[in-house]
């Protein structure tokens, strides 16, 4: 029964999202575009988190993807869609190489090293002036789909759907058990035949490809890259906050978190033009204090409590 309802709700949401651009204006559409961007990053970050690894390097792979997409278009004249793919492939390849060394680290050490690596990417892009345009970045001669907002929206939407599907596959398949085992106790996982390293590398690459492609789409949509904006720490911290406020270890949490924070921040700004960030910060603090499991966790608890009272 509840499974039916869930499917129906999911379908309804999907239809709504597809029809969205047709009955709303350009403004909600541009907000949606950026909500989707953060949503993808939040879901992909959560996918890695399910192994217990906290990445602080989202902005790094996002930025790499952005630069790869723009530079491959400028230098090789490739079609935009292909450059997005290249953004993903390069981010994934780098993740694969890095992963071999970095994935031996745990906890805070992994977090810091991913953060440092992201910074290193940014600094390299800033300093390779001749190739990357340096601190001023590079411009694309034209936007993807000639800047058609519907098509760019659907592109990002498609990427989000793809990410959600991958996330759900990972949640429903064997992979889920491997990841949960790794997160809980690596020694037990190893002794149960789980090749920890293999799974960590796979997830690290997959999520980096997703982040790289998202960066690519974003760069193609806005038509430029600069080290400052493409590697902005926002791309690391906001998805993290969104996933956490929504609820971690699932697809739903990051999705809900991104929607909520994305919309709330926009709304606040319109009503409190000077100082909305204070309120935003207070909201983050309050949610963490009073909903430690995130919104989805809270909803689940309420549902359980309701069921028990029946």
């Amino acid at each position: 029964m509840s499974k039916y309802i869930k499917t129906i709700v999911m379908a309804a949401v999907a239809v709504l999202a597809v029809a969205f651009p047709f009955y709303t204006g350009a403004y909600p559409q541009s907000i949606a575009q950026s909500v989707l961007t953060y949503m993808i990053l939040a879901v992909s970050w959560d996918m890695l988190l399910r192994t217990g690894q906290i990445s602080f390097g989202i902005a790094g792979f996002f930025g790499i993807g952005s630069y790869a997409a723009v530079l491959s278009m400028l230098y090789l004249n490739l079609p935009p869609m292909l450059t997005i793919l290249i953004g993903g492939i390069i981010a994934g390849a780098i993740a694969g190489l890095l992963g071999i060394a970095v994935l031996r680290l745990r906890g805070m050490y992994f977090a810091i090293v991913t953060l440092a690596v992201a910074e290193i990417f940014r600094i390299i892009m800033t300093n390779l002036k001749g190739f990357t345009g340096g601190p001023e970045g590079e411009l694309l001669p034209q936007l993807i789909f000639q800047g058609n907002p519907y098509l760019t929206y659907y592109l990002m939407f498609g990427m989000a759907v793809l990410t959600i599907i991958i996330s759900e596959i990972f949640l429903r398949s064997r992979v889920h058990y491997a990841l949960t085992a790794i997160r809980n106790d690596e020694i037990v996982a190893r002794s149960s035949g789980v090749n920890i390293f293999k799974y960590l590398v796979i997830i690290f690459i997959v999520t980096s490809v997703i982040q790289g492609m998202t960066g690519g789409i974003n760069a193609q949509t806005y038509g430029f890259v600069t080290p400052e904006s493409s590697f902005s720490l926002d791309y690391t911290l906001l998805p993290l906050a969104m996933a956490l406020l929504g609820g971690i270890y699932g697809t739903m949490g990051p999705v809900v978190g991104a929607l909520l924070l994305g919309i709330v921040s926009e709304y606040l700004k319109l009503y409190i033009p000077y100082g909305h960030l204070v309120i935003y910060g207070i909201i983050v603090v309050i949610v963490i204090l009073y909903m430690p499991q995130g919104i989805v966790g809270l909803a689940a608890r309420i549902r359980k409590a309701g069921a028990r009272n029946e």
Binding site: G25, Y27, S30, S34, E136, G137, Y222, F224, E228
Partner: protein, 399 residues
């Protein structure tokens, strides 16, 4: 500004608005930054002044301001909202080339008349392109600014032959602003002499160690030492210069703004600077004086950045343009704006002409000023000069 103000105004104007809707301006600034904060407030000041004097074409002006948060995607959404939800007639605002790059695609989509006060990077000019006749850019581009300095120093060394300006050392912050300035000036300054330079990490972006760059400058021994960084760098850099005993004949700063109370520091005396405006302009420009008094009267505190008079000017230029056109109709308005001759609080009379790529560039250069006894005195252009230059920059032990 913003949502609440709007509602209030709408109620007030209820009756007359039926036939005479207000003229809607949409502004995008980074409101948490001093530039955007004061820029937007100065623009609001201009709007209120104009409305108090009967508005434009008998209609009131209405300014909706949205925060760009210094983020491209937020800046873009702001444009989208202003264009579709607020349905504004004209865009104003601006600060940060990075944000502007994110906004340009949307601006191009709507092709509404745009009076932009920020973005010096020629990358932004490239992105706007040559066809955007609706695009009016007030702030100088990095290269036009560079050229103005070359002209200025040429004039100065002609008038004051003792001032030597042929050996340059440029210390620039390693972000887009500093690097852009360096690239733009490197070629231009060959007219004056030799220029070398080195980047440093600005305190504004987490740096703030100037020892290396100043050591190198000292080794080089330039006639003019110039730095292009941010307000946060101004005093610490001077302190380092003093500590390592580096006192070039001209010590020149080109940040977009200065820290609070810079002039009160004894170190600041006789530092030269590039700038668009300073309170000392009040003595040579009536408009400046009026602006200054109105601003300080309405908001407590002085305008700290030139973005205030610049944004104020943007509104007045639009007002005059609309009045001259007699309509908001785009073609007519553009034509009217092309004929702008606005006597600005910045001193100069602003008009528009094509720059390298775009059709309507308003301001071409900045001024050369000098901190003297806590005040920024204008040295060049000579027509606005408020004080004679002090040369050379006195050595640290002579103060």
């Amino acid at each position: 500004a913003g949502g609440q103000g709007e509602q209030g105004e709408q109620v007030e104007q209820g009756e007359q608005a039926a036939e005479k809707d207000p003229i809607k301006l949409g502004g995008v600034w980074p409101l948490a930054d001093i530039t955007g904060d004061q820029g937007s407030k100065a623009a609001q000041l201009a709007v209120e002044e104009i409305n108090a004097n009967g508005g434009v074409l008998g209609r009131q002006l209405e300014l909706s301001v949205i925060d760009s948060e210094l983020k491209p995607e937020k800046g873009r959404s702001a444009i989208e909202r202003l264009a579709t939800v607020e349905d504004v007639d004209i865009f104003v605002g601006g600060m940060s080339s990075g944000v502007h790059l994110g906004q340009i695609p949307s601006l191009k989509k709507y092709e509404k008349v745009t009076m932009w006060t920020g973005a010096a990077s020629s990358k932004a000019e490239e992105a706007v392109g040559p066809d955007a006749d609706w695009y009016f850019h007030l702030h100088p581009w990095d290269y036009t600014q560079g050229q103005s300095y070359v002209d200025g120093w040429g004039d100065i060394s002609e008038k004051y032959p003792e001032i030597k300006v042929s050996d340059w050392f440029l210390a620039y912050e390693d972000g887009a602003f500093g690097t852009g300035s360096f690239q733009a000036s490197q070629n231009l300054y060959t007219e004056l002499g030799e220029m070398t330079g080195e980047s440093f990490k600005s305190a504004a972006t987490g740096g703030g160690d100037y020892t290396a760059v100043l050591e190198h400058a000292k080794e080089y021994g330039p006639e003019v030492f110039i730095w292009a960084g941010y307000d946060a760098d101004a005093l610490p850099m001077l302190e380092t210069a003093k500590a390592i005993d580096f006192a070039p004949p001209i010590y020149l700063g080109a940040p977009p703004g200065w820290p609070q109370g810079f002039g009160e520091s004894p170190l600041s005396n006789y530092v030269m600077l590039y700038g668009m405006w300073a309170p000392s302009m009040n003595s040579v420009s009536g408009v400046s004086k009026h602006f200054y008094e109105a601003y300080t009267g309405k908001y407590d505190g002085e305008p700290q950045t030139y973005f205030a008079p610049l944004s104020y000017s943007a509104i007045y230029i639009l007002k005059e343009g609309i009045e001259r056109a007699g309509t908001l109709e785009k073609e007519a308005l553009i034509e009217a704006l092309e004929n702008t001759e606005y006597d600005s609080p910045l001193g100069q009379t602003i008009g528009f002409s094509p720059s390298n790529i775009i059709q309507h560039q308003g301001i071409w250069g900045q001024k050369i000023l000098q901190w003297q006894n806590g005040k920024r005195e204008v040295i060049w252009p000579f027509e606005y000069q408020t004080a004679e230059p002090v040369y050379p920059f006195p050595g640290w032990d002579e103060r």
